[in-house]
Symmetry: D2
Subunit: 373 residues, 4 copies
């Protein structure tokens, strides 16, 4: 096992998640590389210093360019605000670093393409933070689908709904800044789009409607002044997958009461699968046919039969949490860097997801089907 230097940019929500995962990865899912926490960066020097102390980074910076340029950093982990993703990633790539960038990596497909091509030209390994598909049960679901256990797929219904923007007095923020690309479709829609692709392959066409349910929001917390919201709160997509079957997706950040309604139902001629991140350690599976007096959806609980669960805990029933999914993500990224399978999702995959987002936006404007291309 050799050490590989990590530079982390950002110390907020995802910054901490990355730090936790980088610290945990080698202990839980050992591979050829062991992350060495070299430098953490935040524009706020105090935050950077605190993060270094807390997470165990060797040093800290307030200028991300020094992270990207640091000779002892081989992997740059980008969790800064979305608006900085492109510049940071391109510069890291230019410096020959492997790059993990939180999603959405870019505000549009063109930018994602630029980043993808830069990385591929440079030969570095990339990772986009679609953590939820790192769930062992989703690996299992995909394997079942690919093994034909669901037969011919007949449909997909996907949802990612939360309520963090449901309060009409929730003020404007980067989330509602249209220069970041879009609203719910980009922020959480990208997760379920990525999940749909992971499970069922490319999406060929979309017919989408994006709408702004909360028409105005305060300009700042508690402000009386309200300004129009220019991004979508809810996106509803009808899909055509490249393999021929159809589906739908809803992305919704005003779904009152929902904290993590990210899930799907997939039907096929031989079986059905149901999943929700609200119960991320359970997968429902129903086999078609058989004895109807004993048939129904079986609640499969994550266990050692669903790798790499067994590396977290040798006994079934103990359950993984969100940070564990992030740990798997980091471990698989390390494995790819070490020459193992490239399980992604990498920048190219993030670009593909962004193409679907862009097509959805365009479809919503024009009111009909739009090819994803």
């Amino acid at each position: 096992m050799r050490e590989i230097g990590i530079g982390l940019i950002g110390t907020g929500f995802m910054g901490k998640a990355h730090a936790i995962a980088w610290r945990a990865a080698a202990g839980i899912l050992p591979g050829a590389l062991r992350p060495a926490l070299r430098v953490v960066c935040d524009v706020d020097t105090g935050a950077a210093a605190a993060a270094a102390a807390q997470f165990g980074f060797a040093r800290h910076e307030s200028d991300w360019r020094r992270v990207v340029a640091a000779p002892d950093v081989e992997i740059v982990s980008i969790t800064a605000p979305n608006a900085f993703h492109r510049e940071m990633a391109l510069e890291a790539i230019a410096a020959g670093k492997h790059v993990h960038c939180e999603k959405p990596i870019a505000p549009d497909a063109a930018t994602a393409e630029e980043m993808t091509r830069a990385a591929e030209t440079a030969g570095v390994v990339t990772q986009a933070g679609f953590n939820y598909i790192k769930n062992p049960l989703l690996k299992h679901a995909r394997a079942m689908i690919e093994a034909g256990e669901l037969g011919e797929i007949t449909g997909f219904r996907g949802i990612h709904a939360e309520d963090y923007m449901a309060d009409p007095d929730q003020p404007h923020s980067w989330r509602t800044d249209p220069s970041n690309g879009a609203g719910a479709i980009a922020d959480i829609g990208s997760h379920i789009i990525g999940m749909a692709r992971y499970l069922l392959g490319p999406i060929a066409e979309v017919n989408a409607t994006l709408e702004t349910a909360v028409k105005t929001r305060p300009v700042a917390p508690g402000a009386a002044e309200r300004r129009p919201v220019l991004v979508d709160d809810i996106a509803r997509l009808t899909l055509r997958f490249a393999r021929g079957y159809g589906g739908s997706i809803e992305a919704n950040w005003v779904a009152t009461g929902r904290k993590m309604q990210l899930g799907f139902e997939i039907s096929g001629s031989k079986g059905g699968l149901v999943f929700t991140q609200e119960r991320l350690n359970e997968l429902l599976f129903c086999r078609a046919g058989g004895d109807s007096a004993r048939a129904g959806f079986t609640r499969i609980e994550t266990g050692p039969a669903h790798p790499p669960y067994g590396q977290f805990c040798v006994a079934p029933g103990h359950q993984l949490g969100f940070n564990d999914l992030k740990t798997i993500e980091m471990a698989e990224f390390l494995d790819a860097i070490a020459g193992g399978a490239r399980r992604g999702p990498d920048f190219r995959e993030a670009w593909e997801v962004q193409k679907v987002v862009d097509a959805a936006i365009e479809s919503s404007r024009t009111g009909g089907w739009r090819a994803v291309s």
Copy 2:
């Protein structure tokens, strides 16, 4: 309480359901009228005779025209195959009878309009068999919405998925006969469309995609010969309600493992509601705001606080079944005939539902938004 004569046409699935409900209505939900089971009809005389004996009808017929014409019959209950609905209903209306007709009452909006106008001109009371909305919890949900407990509605997500056509070897039948109008969108989509309207008002526009997941089916049970399927297995609708908010609906009769996934999630600025007919005695409600350490969806179980549950059972927790919903439907129909509130859904409502179905079919053909009109 005066008696009112019932004539029932059809003795199959819905024929039995009507018979059970007519027998039960007055005992459970007494009103001004008491159904008197006068005549039951089936083209198969033996079936008609058996039904009369079993259900307690005074006599039986094999010619439905004799039911419609019978002087002692004031209500005609139509559960014959869909293809006969129009003719039977029109003739019953012409004879001055009140008419209960199973859904879909007609293969298209134009026919539903014809039937509606005939009934309204004749001054008879009509009922269409959208039984699921007779659930006391749906009355409750509607009352909550109308009282503003959900605040400004931001979205609706509806589904009616079953798997009775999921087996690719399920043969052609009246269900796949295109002269009946459509497939899943008409057969079960009409339920969730009606439920959406019941809860949230008129649907102004739809953007729909209908698709045939099982491309060919055997011409008969066990037959080797297969013919193309010309109706939809799955319909996916994006909606614009007249009140301004959006939504979506999926109707799907190839949803492997699902026996009655008829449900919805409604979000509003002040609350959210979730329901599925799979657990028809439960309604989930989440109030926005409040103490986040104690917030979440509350599982409301049907009880005496949800009329007319208390007339079925004075204690909570005992649960209603499908036939109870049908009984409520009949009791409310009787009440309307006796001059009480017309809670419907009547033919006019069925016509409105059919307009949505027709708009969905048309939208699917043309690939974009289509007004419901």
Copy 3:
């Protein structure tokens, strides 16, 4: 099909439930006998008259002895307060009537024995109102157990908890009158004891603790005066079944929030079964062994594969309600009277249940194991 005259005593909660079920039975589950609603009785003449009108009884009485003696009454349905069960049943039996009596039929095993012996000597058919075991899914569970699908049974955990006495200001009533026998153990414990016996056979020994959680209650609704409660609110039983395995039961009428937590989990070497009346149309089944990546509890929904569901509805997923269970109970009672299988539970079974209740009371007094005898 010949008519059989019904006399119903009592028009309250259970009186209405009986009336509904008697009216429905022949239409839904036709057999050799068709109930004819001859007379309904209530000490309150107005209530009796109203019930006759509503439920369709030919006449009404305020003196139950006239029901029992009526020549046109062959079945006496007893839903009067528990204190009257013995006298009414014995007199009905003496008059040669078949008797359906609500549970508990008697305040103690000795009384139940007296009633049982009288009925058996007279040769009449009896029924005790343990309606919940009439659920088609429980028939299925029992058949699975008897077929060995669970292998060697290793344990049973049963519960019947509700909250109708949870409010400390809920006043004294017949429920807390010790002359009726006991509290929760008799009122609802009898249901889960009967269910345990139905599924797993006789209970040989119990080790029980009965306790009074609410020490005093108002003497009347709203009264300031409170008197001690002398019956149990909660009974906890450890069991030894005659077939060798153990189990436990809790009966609890102060279980805040629970409206019908009547259920069980049964484990065996080859499988497990879980049921709760809160979701009476679902049975969970897990098969031991097999592929652990796909194993788990399967949610079986009631359908035509679980007779007699199909007589209520030919399609799966439509669900039964409480009154449907009562209808099955009446239909099976009629079938027994007509010479068919005696599926019970009859008075002898109610006596057996009462023996367990009595043994539990005695065990609680003495503090250890007590044989059921």
Copy 4:
């Protein structure tokens, strides 16, 4: 933040769990002390070396006495087989180390007392591995109970059932070695006993039945020879808490299909709480009274309102897993060592739990109530 040296004994299931938690603690839940992974020990030198490499311990040992004696080790984490707990803990205490010992710390109360007294005399801080009560939702439940939100407690029903011994061909092992104390009651019963105490205070008396459901097991994996099982598979306890209310507990390791059915229902005059580790991020709460049309159990999902969840993730809905509970356990232990609140459970608490286990065993032998003392 100062470093504190950790010595870990054992590298199996719990050894890895400790290593993961020690590595994660300071990054997620920073306090005054930062664990420094000094030495890991396994009798198998290869395993010890591998563990050191994987988990990042500075060195490894095969002789645990060298861990206990090491000057740079301040905390000894004991995850060796139960039979070694006493000796290791006593020696570590004698060396002035703080000790974390997996449960059960001892085979009987006398031994637990000896260990407790030694630790208290030495003035070291101890921790017993009852990880499940470290769930933020259980802290919340306890706070709600202590704040009186449930009113007067009326009852507790607890369960810990799994199926790891359900297969009759699962061979004998340390689990079935009676010198370790007992079977299911000790191995998992101790968890639910500890949870009951954590939530509701001391247990004063028990009336218990322990039974061996699988009478014989193979002497080794695949062996034809079977020997009698001398420990319990299932323990059923009726409880009397010191505060006056009653309850029950079942511990069961032959519960086919159950992987982690560790949970409880608590009822009080003002509310009810339901929890199961199968869905460890959910707590059900029902408030008594109020509007019955909107009442029911609310599903509370873990979020930032339930500390220390917010230190794992700032957004709700992301969920904790088993290893996160273990991380909280280690962080709280560190905090106690640093002079903060002693949240335990410490050896004294483990001794109290063991007293209940011993009383249950004794009660089962003698067949009645037994004081816990």
